[in-house]
């Protein structure tokens, strides 16, 4: 009923504490404290004051973003300008001051807009106490597994115009997603190579629109390709129903919104 709160000086210690499996990690608090307030209280709340979690540093073609970096901190960093459109759409000012990049990866439907952008960009996740990084898509497929995210390595798009982000909500300027879309369409000689389209609010976690990716791969970003991608956008996806939109509605409009995003990217 009352949780034990354990505060560690280093990430490594916190990761060891998490390994036992009965703890929940407290980052910005916007998800965990909401649950605690509602009576869903974990036995142990684990946190760390390790400053390395808040570092942002370039790593080759990518940027390494500490899991504890807040949306506001991300928005203040010019290296991460390509993520600003997505980060700005997360919550209101208070949520952005509190919510972290790492926490956003675990936000339940319909939240997690930044994770959509990161997924579209092919970001990788560095787990505390583990060497190397694994694809974000892997983590999103099984978020219940315990482990502590140390950082996210996000490839910087070579051409800023090759990445687009769109969030559709009913309330402005702040509302939860009916659908959010990240699209990364790198081009070589006018052809799309390595298309990645990610949807938010179209599943339990952000996911890739594989059919739309296939429709765009190797194509020029023209009206015909955009129409084909829009037509197959929801293929193989079973979006959830909630108070914002029904599954049917999401399936119907996701292609329309994808088309609009792609058209705006085509115009540059």
């Amino acid at each position: 009923m009352t949780p034990a709160v354990e505060t560690y000086a280093t990430l490594a210690e916190a990761a060891r504490a998490m390994a036992s499996g009965d703890g929940v990690y407290l980052a910005g608090g916007t998800l965990l404290m909401r649950a605690v307030n509602a009576g869903e209280v974990p036995r142990r709340i684990i946190r760390t004051t390790d400053r390395t979690l808040r570092e942002i540093a370039p790593v080759g073609d990518a940027v390494r973003i500490g899991a504890g970096v807040t949306m506001v901190e991300l928005l203040q960093n010019r290296e991460l300008a390509f993520l600003h459109a997505a980060a700005r759409q997360v919550g209101g000012p208070q949520i952005r001051a509190m919510g972290t990049v790492g926490g956003n990866l675990f936000a339940p439907h319909p939240y997690g807009d930044l994770a959509v952008a990161l997924l579209a960009l092919g970001a990788r996740v560095v787990m505390a106490g583990q060497a190397g990084a694994r694809p974000l898509a892997d983590l999103l497929r099984d978020r219940a597994r315990t482990g502590l995210v140390a950082a996210i390595e996000c490839p910087r798009p070579r051409d800023a115009r090759s990445f687009g982000f769109l969030k559709v909500s009913r309330v402005h300027p702040r509302g939860a997603s009916v659908v959010s879309i990240g699209a990364h369409l790198p081009r070589e000689g006018g052809r799309i190579r390595g298309a990645r389209i990610a949807f938010g609010a179209m599943g339990a976690a952000p996911l890739q629109a594989s059919a739309a990716e296939r429709a765009l791969e190797g194509q020029a970003l023209d009206a015909a390709a955009i129409a084909r991608a829009g037509a197959v956008a929801a293929q193989g996806i079973d979006p959830p129903s909630d108070s914002l939109a029904s599954s049917w509605y999401r399936r119907e409009v996701s292609g329309v919104h994808l088309r609009r995003l792609l058209e705006s990217m085509e115009r540059g």
Binding site: M1, T2, A38, G39, V41
Partner: protein, 570 residues
């Protein structure tokens, strides 16, 4: 305040107004604004008490169920729990809000004992030394349920064989005036006028329940005072209503209750139901300690009574020139599982029909329907807002049929000073025409010459000011043998004893006893308004009135507001 937000059109009705107003039209400061901007306005939860206890309810997960057993032992054993209340701890565990106005029959328990009728209905209230403990212990209240069939749609609820929500209303409809299963309006002869009309335009309009969603959730804190009274800080919008309701349910003289309120963190109608005060005071009575009963946000949204859903069917008879000659309403208010204020909302609604238009033939059958949904209550103009949505949407539809622009059409049919309205009052100080003219001007809509030069003060009265020569009456929805309880009783006709509610069917009732209880229910005539000529053109004798005693001695009990129940002699 910027003056641009309000525009005064003082050219209208200038001769009717003494324009020496000192305040209206000028910015002014609210008297409570200093408290608001300093954060010092005392909302109910802004009172600190040493040893405050927190109350939280265990609630039904089912839309409808019989309660076989409530086991509070595990909750009671939880460290920090001081007391667990169930229905039998409430001195009078049955109420209807408007009983204070002598309108309606007690139908709703504070804590359900034998049956639940909506999801979220409270069955036990845990009092603990912290909010978290109360929450955890409320989850440990074990209830043995026997799930019952439920009904969530108004028209399904009034079909024969639908699950009965409240035994005292076996047709799932509130009984008006002890006689009808709906509130009636009859003015002129609608069926004849519909037959004579050039067009008949029908429409169906539905609105959903709307939660008031105040930022401050509903609640109350009660504490024993040193003078044998209980103080109660409340978010109520209706302080004396809540005081009297608490007095009734706790069987305490109101002189022992000290209510403090008036600082309400948003109400919009959702804070009149007096749900929290009786339980908070009871918690303080039974523990001797200050007790707070406050909804969290989820409760506010799930069990906080919303503006009820309404469904309206409108049939208009209209002539080619755009005059509406008949308007017929059939309306269903979704009261949810209990009456609360829906019965009264319908009286307001029917008094408002047919909207601000002069129509010589109007009829309405409006039912207050019980379903297994969250009980509905007041919200901003309730009873009016929903039907106005229906009326105005229908006006646009009818305008299209007769090929008029919708503002011209409204001006043509608008009531004017001196016109007779369907509730048999003369219209005065009308201003719809002038409003429409300003709207047309702002919207750039070109009005016809007649509409542009029309005035609320011209063209009214005369024939339009007279009652219809003939009003078609009928007995549809007549209910026989209904025990109306106290509200419809003439003053002094019967002693003011508590109304006898049919005994609830015992838990685990055998089919035989259930059948018996069905037979013992009042018989409801299931006659419906049939759109046949014979029924509406014949003029049956006026409904039989029970003779009232010539001189009624003053009656003890609640004050009567007879205009509410429609008995005031005119």
């Amino acid at each position: 305040m910027s003056d641009g937000m309000i525009e005064f059109r003082k050219e209208f009705f200038a001769d009717e107004r003494d324009d020496t107003l000192n305040e209206i039209g000028k910015p002014t400061r609210r008297q409570d604004i200093l408290g608001h901007v300093t954060g010092r306005s005392p909302f109910y939860d802004d009172h600190l008490f040493q040893g405050l206890l927190h109350m939280r309810c265990a609630r039904s997960p089912h839309h409808a169920a019989r309660i076989r057993r409530i086991d509070t032992s595990e909750a009671e054993r939880t460290p920090g729990v001081v007391r667990v209340l169930i229905g039998r701890d409430v001195p009078l565990n049955l109420n209807t809000l408007l009983s204070l106005l002598d309108f309606g029959i007690d139908d709703e328990p504070v804590l359900a004992t034998d049956r639940v009728r909506y999801r979220g209905e409270p069955v036990a209230a845990v009092v603990a030394d912290s909010e978290a403990t109360a929450r955890a212990a409320a989850a440990k209240v074990r209830v043995e349920w026997e799930v019952l069939p439920h009904v969530l749609d108004v028209e399904e609820a009034i079909r024969p064989g639908a699950p009965v929500v409240l035994d005292i209303y076996p047709g799932n409809r509130f009984i008006y005036h002890g006689k009808y299963d709906h509130q009636k309006l009859r003015y002129g002869d609608v069926e004849a006028a519909l037959r004579a009309a050039d067009h008949v335009v029908e429409g169906r309009y539905q609105m959903s329940p709307i939660e008031q969603a105040p930022i401050e959730t509903c609640g109350a804190i009660a504490a024993p005072e040193t003078n044998d009274r209980f103080v109660c800080y409340s978010s109520t919008q209706a302080l004396f209503f809540s005081l009297a309701t608490s007095s009734k349910l706790l069987r305490l003289p109101s002189s022992r209750l000290h209510f403090i309120g008036g600082t309400v963190g948003g109400g919009f109608g959702g804070k009149v139901d007096s749900i929290h005060e009786p339980l908070a005071i009871l918690g303080a009575m039974l523990t001797g300690r200050p007790c707070k009963y406050m909804w969290d946000r989820e409760e506010e949204m799930q069990v906080g009574a919303p503006r009820g859903a309404e469904r309206w069917y409108i049939s208009d008879g209209v002539m080619r020139d755009g005059r509406i000659v008949a308007r017929k309403f059939v309306g269903y208010f979704d009261s949810g599982a209990y009456t609360r204020l829906s019965s009264y909302a319908i009286i307001k609604a029917v008094g408002h029909l047919p909207g601000p238009y002069t129509i010589p033939n109007v009829s309405a059958d409006v039912s207050c329907v019980y379903t297994n949904r969250t009980p509905a209550t007041a919200m901003r103009g309730f009873g009016i807002t929903g039907v106005d949505f229906a009326i105005e949407a229908h006006m646009d539809k009818v305008a299209e049929v007769v090929g008029m622009n919708p503002i011209d059409f409204r001006i043509l049919n608008a009531y004017r000073d001196g016109d007779m309205k369907a509730h048999r009052r003369s219209a005065k100080n009308c201003a719809l025409i002038e409003c429409c003219q300003v709207v047309a001007e702002k919207a750039g809509v070109q009005l016809s010459n007649a509409a542009r030069t029309a005035s609320s003060r011209q063209g009214g009265g005369g024939d339009r000011g007279r009652l219809p020569a003939h009003t078609a009456l009928d007995q549809s929805g007549r209910v026989e043998g209904f025990d109306t309880g106290s509200y419809a009783r003439k003053a002094g006709q019967r002693p003011a004893t508590q109304h006898q509610v049919p005994a609830p069917v015992a838990a685990r009732a055998s089919p035989a006893t259930q059948a018996a209880s069905v037979q013992s229910r009042p018989r409801v005539e299931e006659t419906r308004v049939a759109p046949s000529a014979s029924q509406t053109t014949q003029q049956p004798a006026p409904p039989q009135q029970h003779p009232a005693p010539p001189s009624a001695p003053p009656r003890s009990g609640p004050i009567r507001f007879s205009s509410l129940s429609g008995f005031r002699r005119r």
